[in-house]
Subunit: 261 residues, 2 copies
């Protein structure tokens, strides 16, 4: 909430990101939670059309959990037409299919279209309706397309901030380069195959010494299975050293008790 | 919240769906909001490890917004080891990189792995930590992998229900067949190209009659542009009839004022 946090948060919010336009929002608490969800996703441009309880609203600041850059930058409009005036492409969120002929997209498809629009410099936005009723048909006429989150059809109602979060999340993911899977190894590094093979050889030798592989005709498959377990484990160089120590300790314990046991 | 709603909601929750395991949840209100987010995504199996305020908790029912099937089916455990005992694969949510060597996946990659696990009959689950502190390192040792939502790095903190929602949403999307884009046409149907061409011919004829196309060497490009606008509009048969009426009305108005005007 300090000035530096806000600066940092702003710096990470991306220019060209879609505006979030709340039409007739009722509770300040919900506006605050929307601001938080927006900043989670790197969205900063909040527009309020006829907020029921006026603006600014202390209840919104209380629930924004520090997303004050969004709250303080919010713009207020009397008319939806003015709120969307500078935008080139607008998507309206609605849970229900209406008796209107308008494309209905998934959030993921919208995210892809938004990124394409941004890439050519177009300004975009999402419309969200009042908590209780959602956008009415007149509001929907301002939108290029509708977006519906395909949730459990028997229980699909989201609160306002959750709807903003899912749309913002899909937008963010559409431009995100995080690897699907990473294995941070801290101060160590992934073991080389040579290091792994050395460990496995030593383990197999120790097990041979202890008479572990019997009957002998099963040795091949037992060795193969052990090798696969340790291959899957993706051990670091550090962890292999620990495993060497484990083998030594167990051999010591075993020897301490006697070689036959 | 009626019995029928619960039955319906349960019917739409999918068997094989991941369990949601909350370790040391603090506020009943948050457990209720988690239940709602779960049912939004079709998840029913809620497991609570040492809930701070005991269980059942009226505060949870109050915020579940009707997701009572989840609340009433919740199971309580003293130990995380018991809560995960029957599962084959477990993912732990954490916002921070820890000094542990464990794979870190995106929610989308996790969703893909979960669906693959379910396809072969494996039982899966998500771990979430206490609101304030998150999972501790001991908890994380029970997980196959970590999952981190790649949000705004300067403002990445989600509340518990939002984290459950994003994970559940990705799981749901990974098995969802909703078309990326649909155009519901209600009582009408998409116009045939013949109907569209007939309309365009009539419009162009009317504009020719009114001397709209001048200079004449620009007629070709003006016609092409008009045709493209109406192609993009994806009109239904009903809407084309309305547009025919618009042309007739405008011609009438124009003629009423005089052909030169």
């Amino acid at each position: 909430m300090a000035g530096t946090d806000k600066t940092q948060a702003s710096a990470h919010a991306e220019s060209g990101a879609p505006a979030v336009i709340l039409v007739g929002p009722q509770l300040g608490e919900n506006i605050g939670m929307v601001a938080r969800a927006m900043l989670n996703c790197g969205l900063l441009d909040l527009r309020l059309v006829r907020p029921r309880d006026g603006w600014p609203n202390p209840a919104a600041e209380a629930t924004a959990s520090g997303a004050l850059a969004v709250i303080e930058g919010a713009k207020v409009y009397d008319e939806l037409a003015d709120a969307v005036a500078g935008l080139n492409r607008v998507y309206a969120t609605t849970a229900r299919a209406r008796d209107m002929v308008k494309p209905v997209l998934t959030p993921r498809a919208v995210a892809s279209e938004l990124r394409a629009a941004e890439a050519v410099g177009d300004a975009t936005g999402f419309l969200f309706g009042p908590e209780r009723s959602g956008l009415d048909n007149d509001d929907l006429t301002f939108a290029d397309a509708l977006v519906t989150v395909p949730l459990n059809p028997a229980f699909s109602s989201l609160n306002l901030a959750q709807a903003v979060l899912l749309l913002g999340y899909e937008w963010r993911m559409a431009g995100d380069a995080t690897p699907d899977r990473a294995l941070p190894t801290g101060d160590s590094r992934p073991a080389t195959k040579e290091e792994l093979i050395n460990f496995l050889s030593r383990l197999e030798q120790a097990l041979d010494d202890m008479g572990f592989f019997h009957p002998v005709e099963k040795r091949y498959i037992m060795v193969r299975n052990l090798r696969n377990v340790f291959q899957r484990a993706e051990a670091t160089e550090q962890e292999l050293r620990t495993l060497h120590g484990v083998v030594s300790a167990l051999r010591g314990a075993k020897l301490g008790k006697g070689p036959q046991d």
